[in-house]
């Protein structure tokens, strides 16, 4: 018994079957396809691999994809927090409806989102016809990629921050106020540290989604090589030439990048938790 202390007093009984199930399920759903990816890539030599993933056009697409995804996730972190705050703290008319709207980017097929966004932001669209005369071109430029990524990433931040905000009781703020804290101090010293881990999770999720996004972006990006080509498009390009190994090579690099980013965010989260405590 001493060797398996986890089995004692846990709510869900059966450590062995649950662990077995977890590993089996993860292998089947996540690891198997991903290992196939790496396996396919392995048919390239190192030289070919480097030549494929470091080609100037591919490198340019990393900059566009990861840059836009970071910017979009950053914007979503700020404004998603605001949306969550408003939804939790204030009584608004039609609040439930607004709450439901937040999930729409989740539910909408991405290609539909892309077509809709590009029709809104094109020179003859609702917003495009206002913005373009002022010199702001959104559709068919890198800015369009950023807009699409912001659109699809918003729910991640709102939905991770919202429950934490709901847990925070108003008494904490009242206590802070009683002890003489200003509003800004209360936010910075009391509320924000509590929210930060959830905010970082939302940021990471929105970022990861933006990096992997294809459908909503290709319609608004313009897809010009070296300028507004996203990495997933280059993967499709490789596939269109029946270059499976080349496609998986680029995909593997993206996966690696994303994994490192997520790892960094996780570490940051841990650090922020420790500091909050």
């Amino acid at each position: 018994m001493a060797t398996r202390p986890i089995t004692r007093n846990t709510v869900i009984p059966g450590f062995t079957p649950t662990l077995g199930y977890t590993i089996f399920y993860l292998s089947l759903i996540v690891l198997l396809p991903l290992s196939a990816l790496v396996f396919k890539t392995a048919s390239l030599t190192w030289g070919e691999f480097i030549a494929t993933v470091a080609a100037p056009r591919v490198a340019a697409s990393y900059r566009v994809t990861f840059g836009a995804a970071l910017a979009a996730a950053g914007v979503n972190a700020i404004f998603g927090l605001l949306v969550a705050w408003v939804l939790v703290r204030y009584r608004l008319p039609g609040k439930r409806l607004i709450d439901a709207f937040v999930d729409l980017p989740f539910a909408l097929p991405t290609a539909v989102a892309g077509i809709t966004l590009s029709s809104v932001y094109a020179a003859n669209g609702w917003l495009g016809s206002i913005l373009e005369p002022r010199g702001i071109k959104v559709a068919f430029t890198p800015l369009g990629i950023f807009v699409a990524m912001t659109f699809i990433g918003l729910p991640f931040v709102v939905r991770t921050v919202q429950p934490v905000l709901e847990e925070l009781e108003a008494e904490i703020e009242e206590a802070a106020a009683c002890l003489g804290a200003t509003r800004w101090q209360t936010f910075r010293r009391v509320l924000f540290p509590e929210l930060l881990p959830a905010l970082l999770t939302g940021f990471a999720l929105a970022f990861a989604r933006g990096v992997g996004e294809y459908g909503s972006i290709i319609f608004i990006a313009g897809n010009m090589p070296m300028v507004s080509e996203i990495t997933p498009l280059l993967i499709i390009t490789k596939l269109e030439q029946y270059d499976y190994a080349g496609a998986t090579a680029i995909a593997t690099v993206m996966l690696l990048f994303s994994f490192l980013m997520l790892l960094a965010v996780n570490l940051l989260q841990k650090w922020s938790r420790r500091h909050a405590a």
């Binding site: 080609a55 100037p56 094109a122 897809n223 269109e240 030439q241 080349g246």
Partner: protein, 337 residues
């Protein structure tokens, strides 16, 4: 106990649903095609089913699958059970033969006219009144003209566009490979948006109002004009263009396994009959049957056409030289250009 019971019930239900399907004497064919043929084959399948039944054959149901030509070929390579493939370019069918060994190498010799029952060409779609006065290919490299075409690396149709422009430059007085490259480079400098597929480009041009000229398959151009308004667009036919031959073939390994070879072969042969040609012409594909073509002469203006085999030495060579990684198209968009 409960989940196991549910599972058992579900399994039984699945088996019960799956079992009776095979009982009828009915032939199912799957035609894997590319995007712009959707309407064509809807009509054609109905006509063929009627014809086959009339000849005392079984009831034929033809299922259709449409998508980008390359994407469709990949699906067949990866195991989509296509009895026949009707794709945008021979290269995609070649790859099915090469990568999955489903078709013999000589497939293109099996049916008349390079196995292309209908042809098409690349034309220009311009806005009504032709405000930029675009008449021929050389207008497309003028600095004031914006051209919309999809990306040749992701779209079969775009490869035809690109090669048509190249062939035009090559066939001018004093034309050379170097001049052709320069011409195509200048043309692509005028392209503000590279969509990933032909329908995407049509949307960009028609709905989003981008560009002055859309390079398009003739049948797509007709479709755009008919669907979206004769008062908004018109078709300009250049002096010379490429003969686009979308080929068809049966997928040997699949029809032999399914026992559908005979029907599948008849299905494709029927495309060459006057009835089949008529349907193709109605959907704005140029018929190869002389009599049918004569009847539709008013629809399809005469244009000098060159073939991919004569000008580029076939699809494989063209693909390798122009569209493979590091090929001419990549050089056009190389860093610092």
């Amino acid at each position: 106990m409960k989940p196991i019971k549910t599972f058992a019930v579900l399994t039984t239900a699945l088996i019960a649903f799956a079992a009776p399907v095979a009982a009828y004497a009915e032939v199912n064919l799957l035609n894997v095609s590319y995007d712009p043929t959707r309407e064509l084959y809807q009509d054609y399948n109905a006509a063929f089913a009627k014809y086959w039944k009339g000849k005392g054959g079984d009831t034929v149901t033809v299922k259709q699958s449409h998508g980008g030509s390359g994407k469709q070929a990949r699906a067949v390579i990866d195991g989509l059970d296509a009895d026949v493939v009707t794709l945008a370019l021979a290269y995609d069918i070649d790859e099915i033969g090469e990568k999955a060994k489903l078709i013999p190498e000589s497939w293109q010799k099996r049916l008349p006219h390079n196995s292309s029952p209908y042809t098409s060409t690349i034309v220009f779609l311009v806005r009504k009144g032709n405000p930029k006065k675009v008449k021929d290919w050389n207008d497309l490299v003028r600095p004031d003209v914006k051209v919309i075409t999809p990306n040749p690396k992701t779209s079969g149709g775009a490869r035809w566009n690109y090669l048509a422009a190249w062939g035009y430059a090559l066939k001018q007085k004093g034309g050379s490979e170097a001049k052709a490259k320069e011409f195509v480079t200048r043309l692509f400098k005028n392209v503000p948006v590279l969509d990933s597929g032909a329908r995407g480009s049509t949307t960009t041009f028609v709905q989003r109002g981008q560009g002055d000229v859309l390079l398009a398959w003739e049948n797509e151009a007709f479709l755009a004009v008919n669907e979206l308004g004769k008062d908004k667009f018109e078709i300009v036919v250049p002096s010379i263009s490429i003969l686009a031959e979308p080929p068809v073939t049966v997928v040997d390994k699949v029809v032999d396994r399914k026992g559908t070879r005979k029907v599948a072969e008849e299905y494709l042969k029927y495309l060459y009959t006057p009835a089949g040609q008529e349907i193709a012409a109605k959907h704005y594909y140029r018929p190869i049957d002389k009599k049918v073509a004569a009847r539709y002469a008013k629809v399809f203006p005469k244009v000098k056409l060159f073939t991919i085999d004569d000008t580029f030495g076939g699809w494989k060579a063209a693909q390798k030289k122009h569209f493979a990684d590091g090929g001419v198209f990549d050089q056009i968009y190389g860093p610092g250009k």
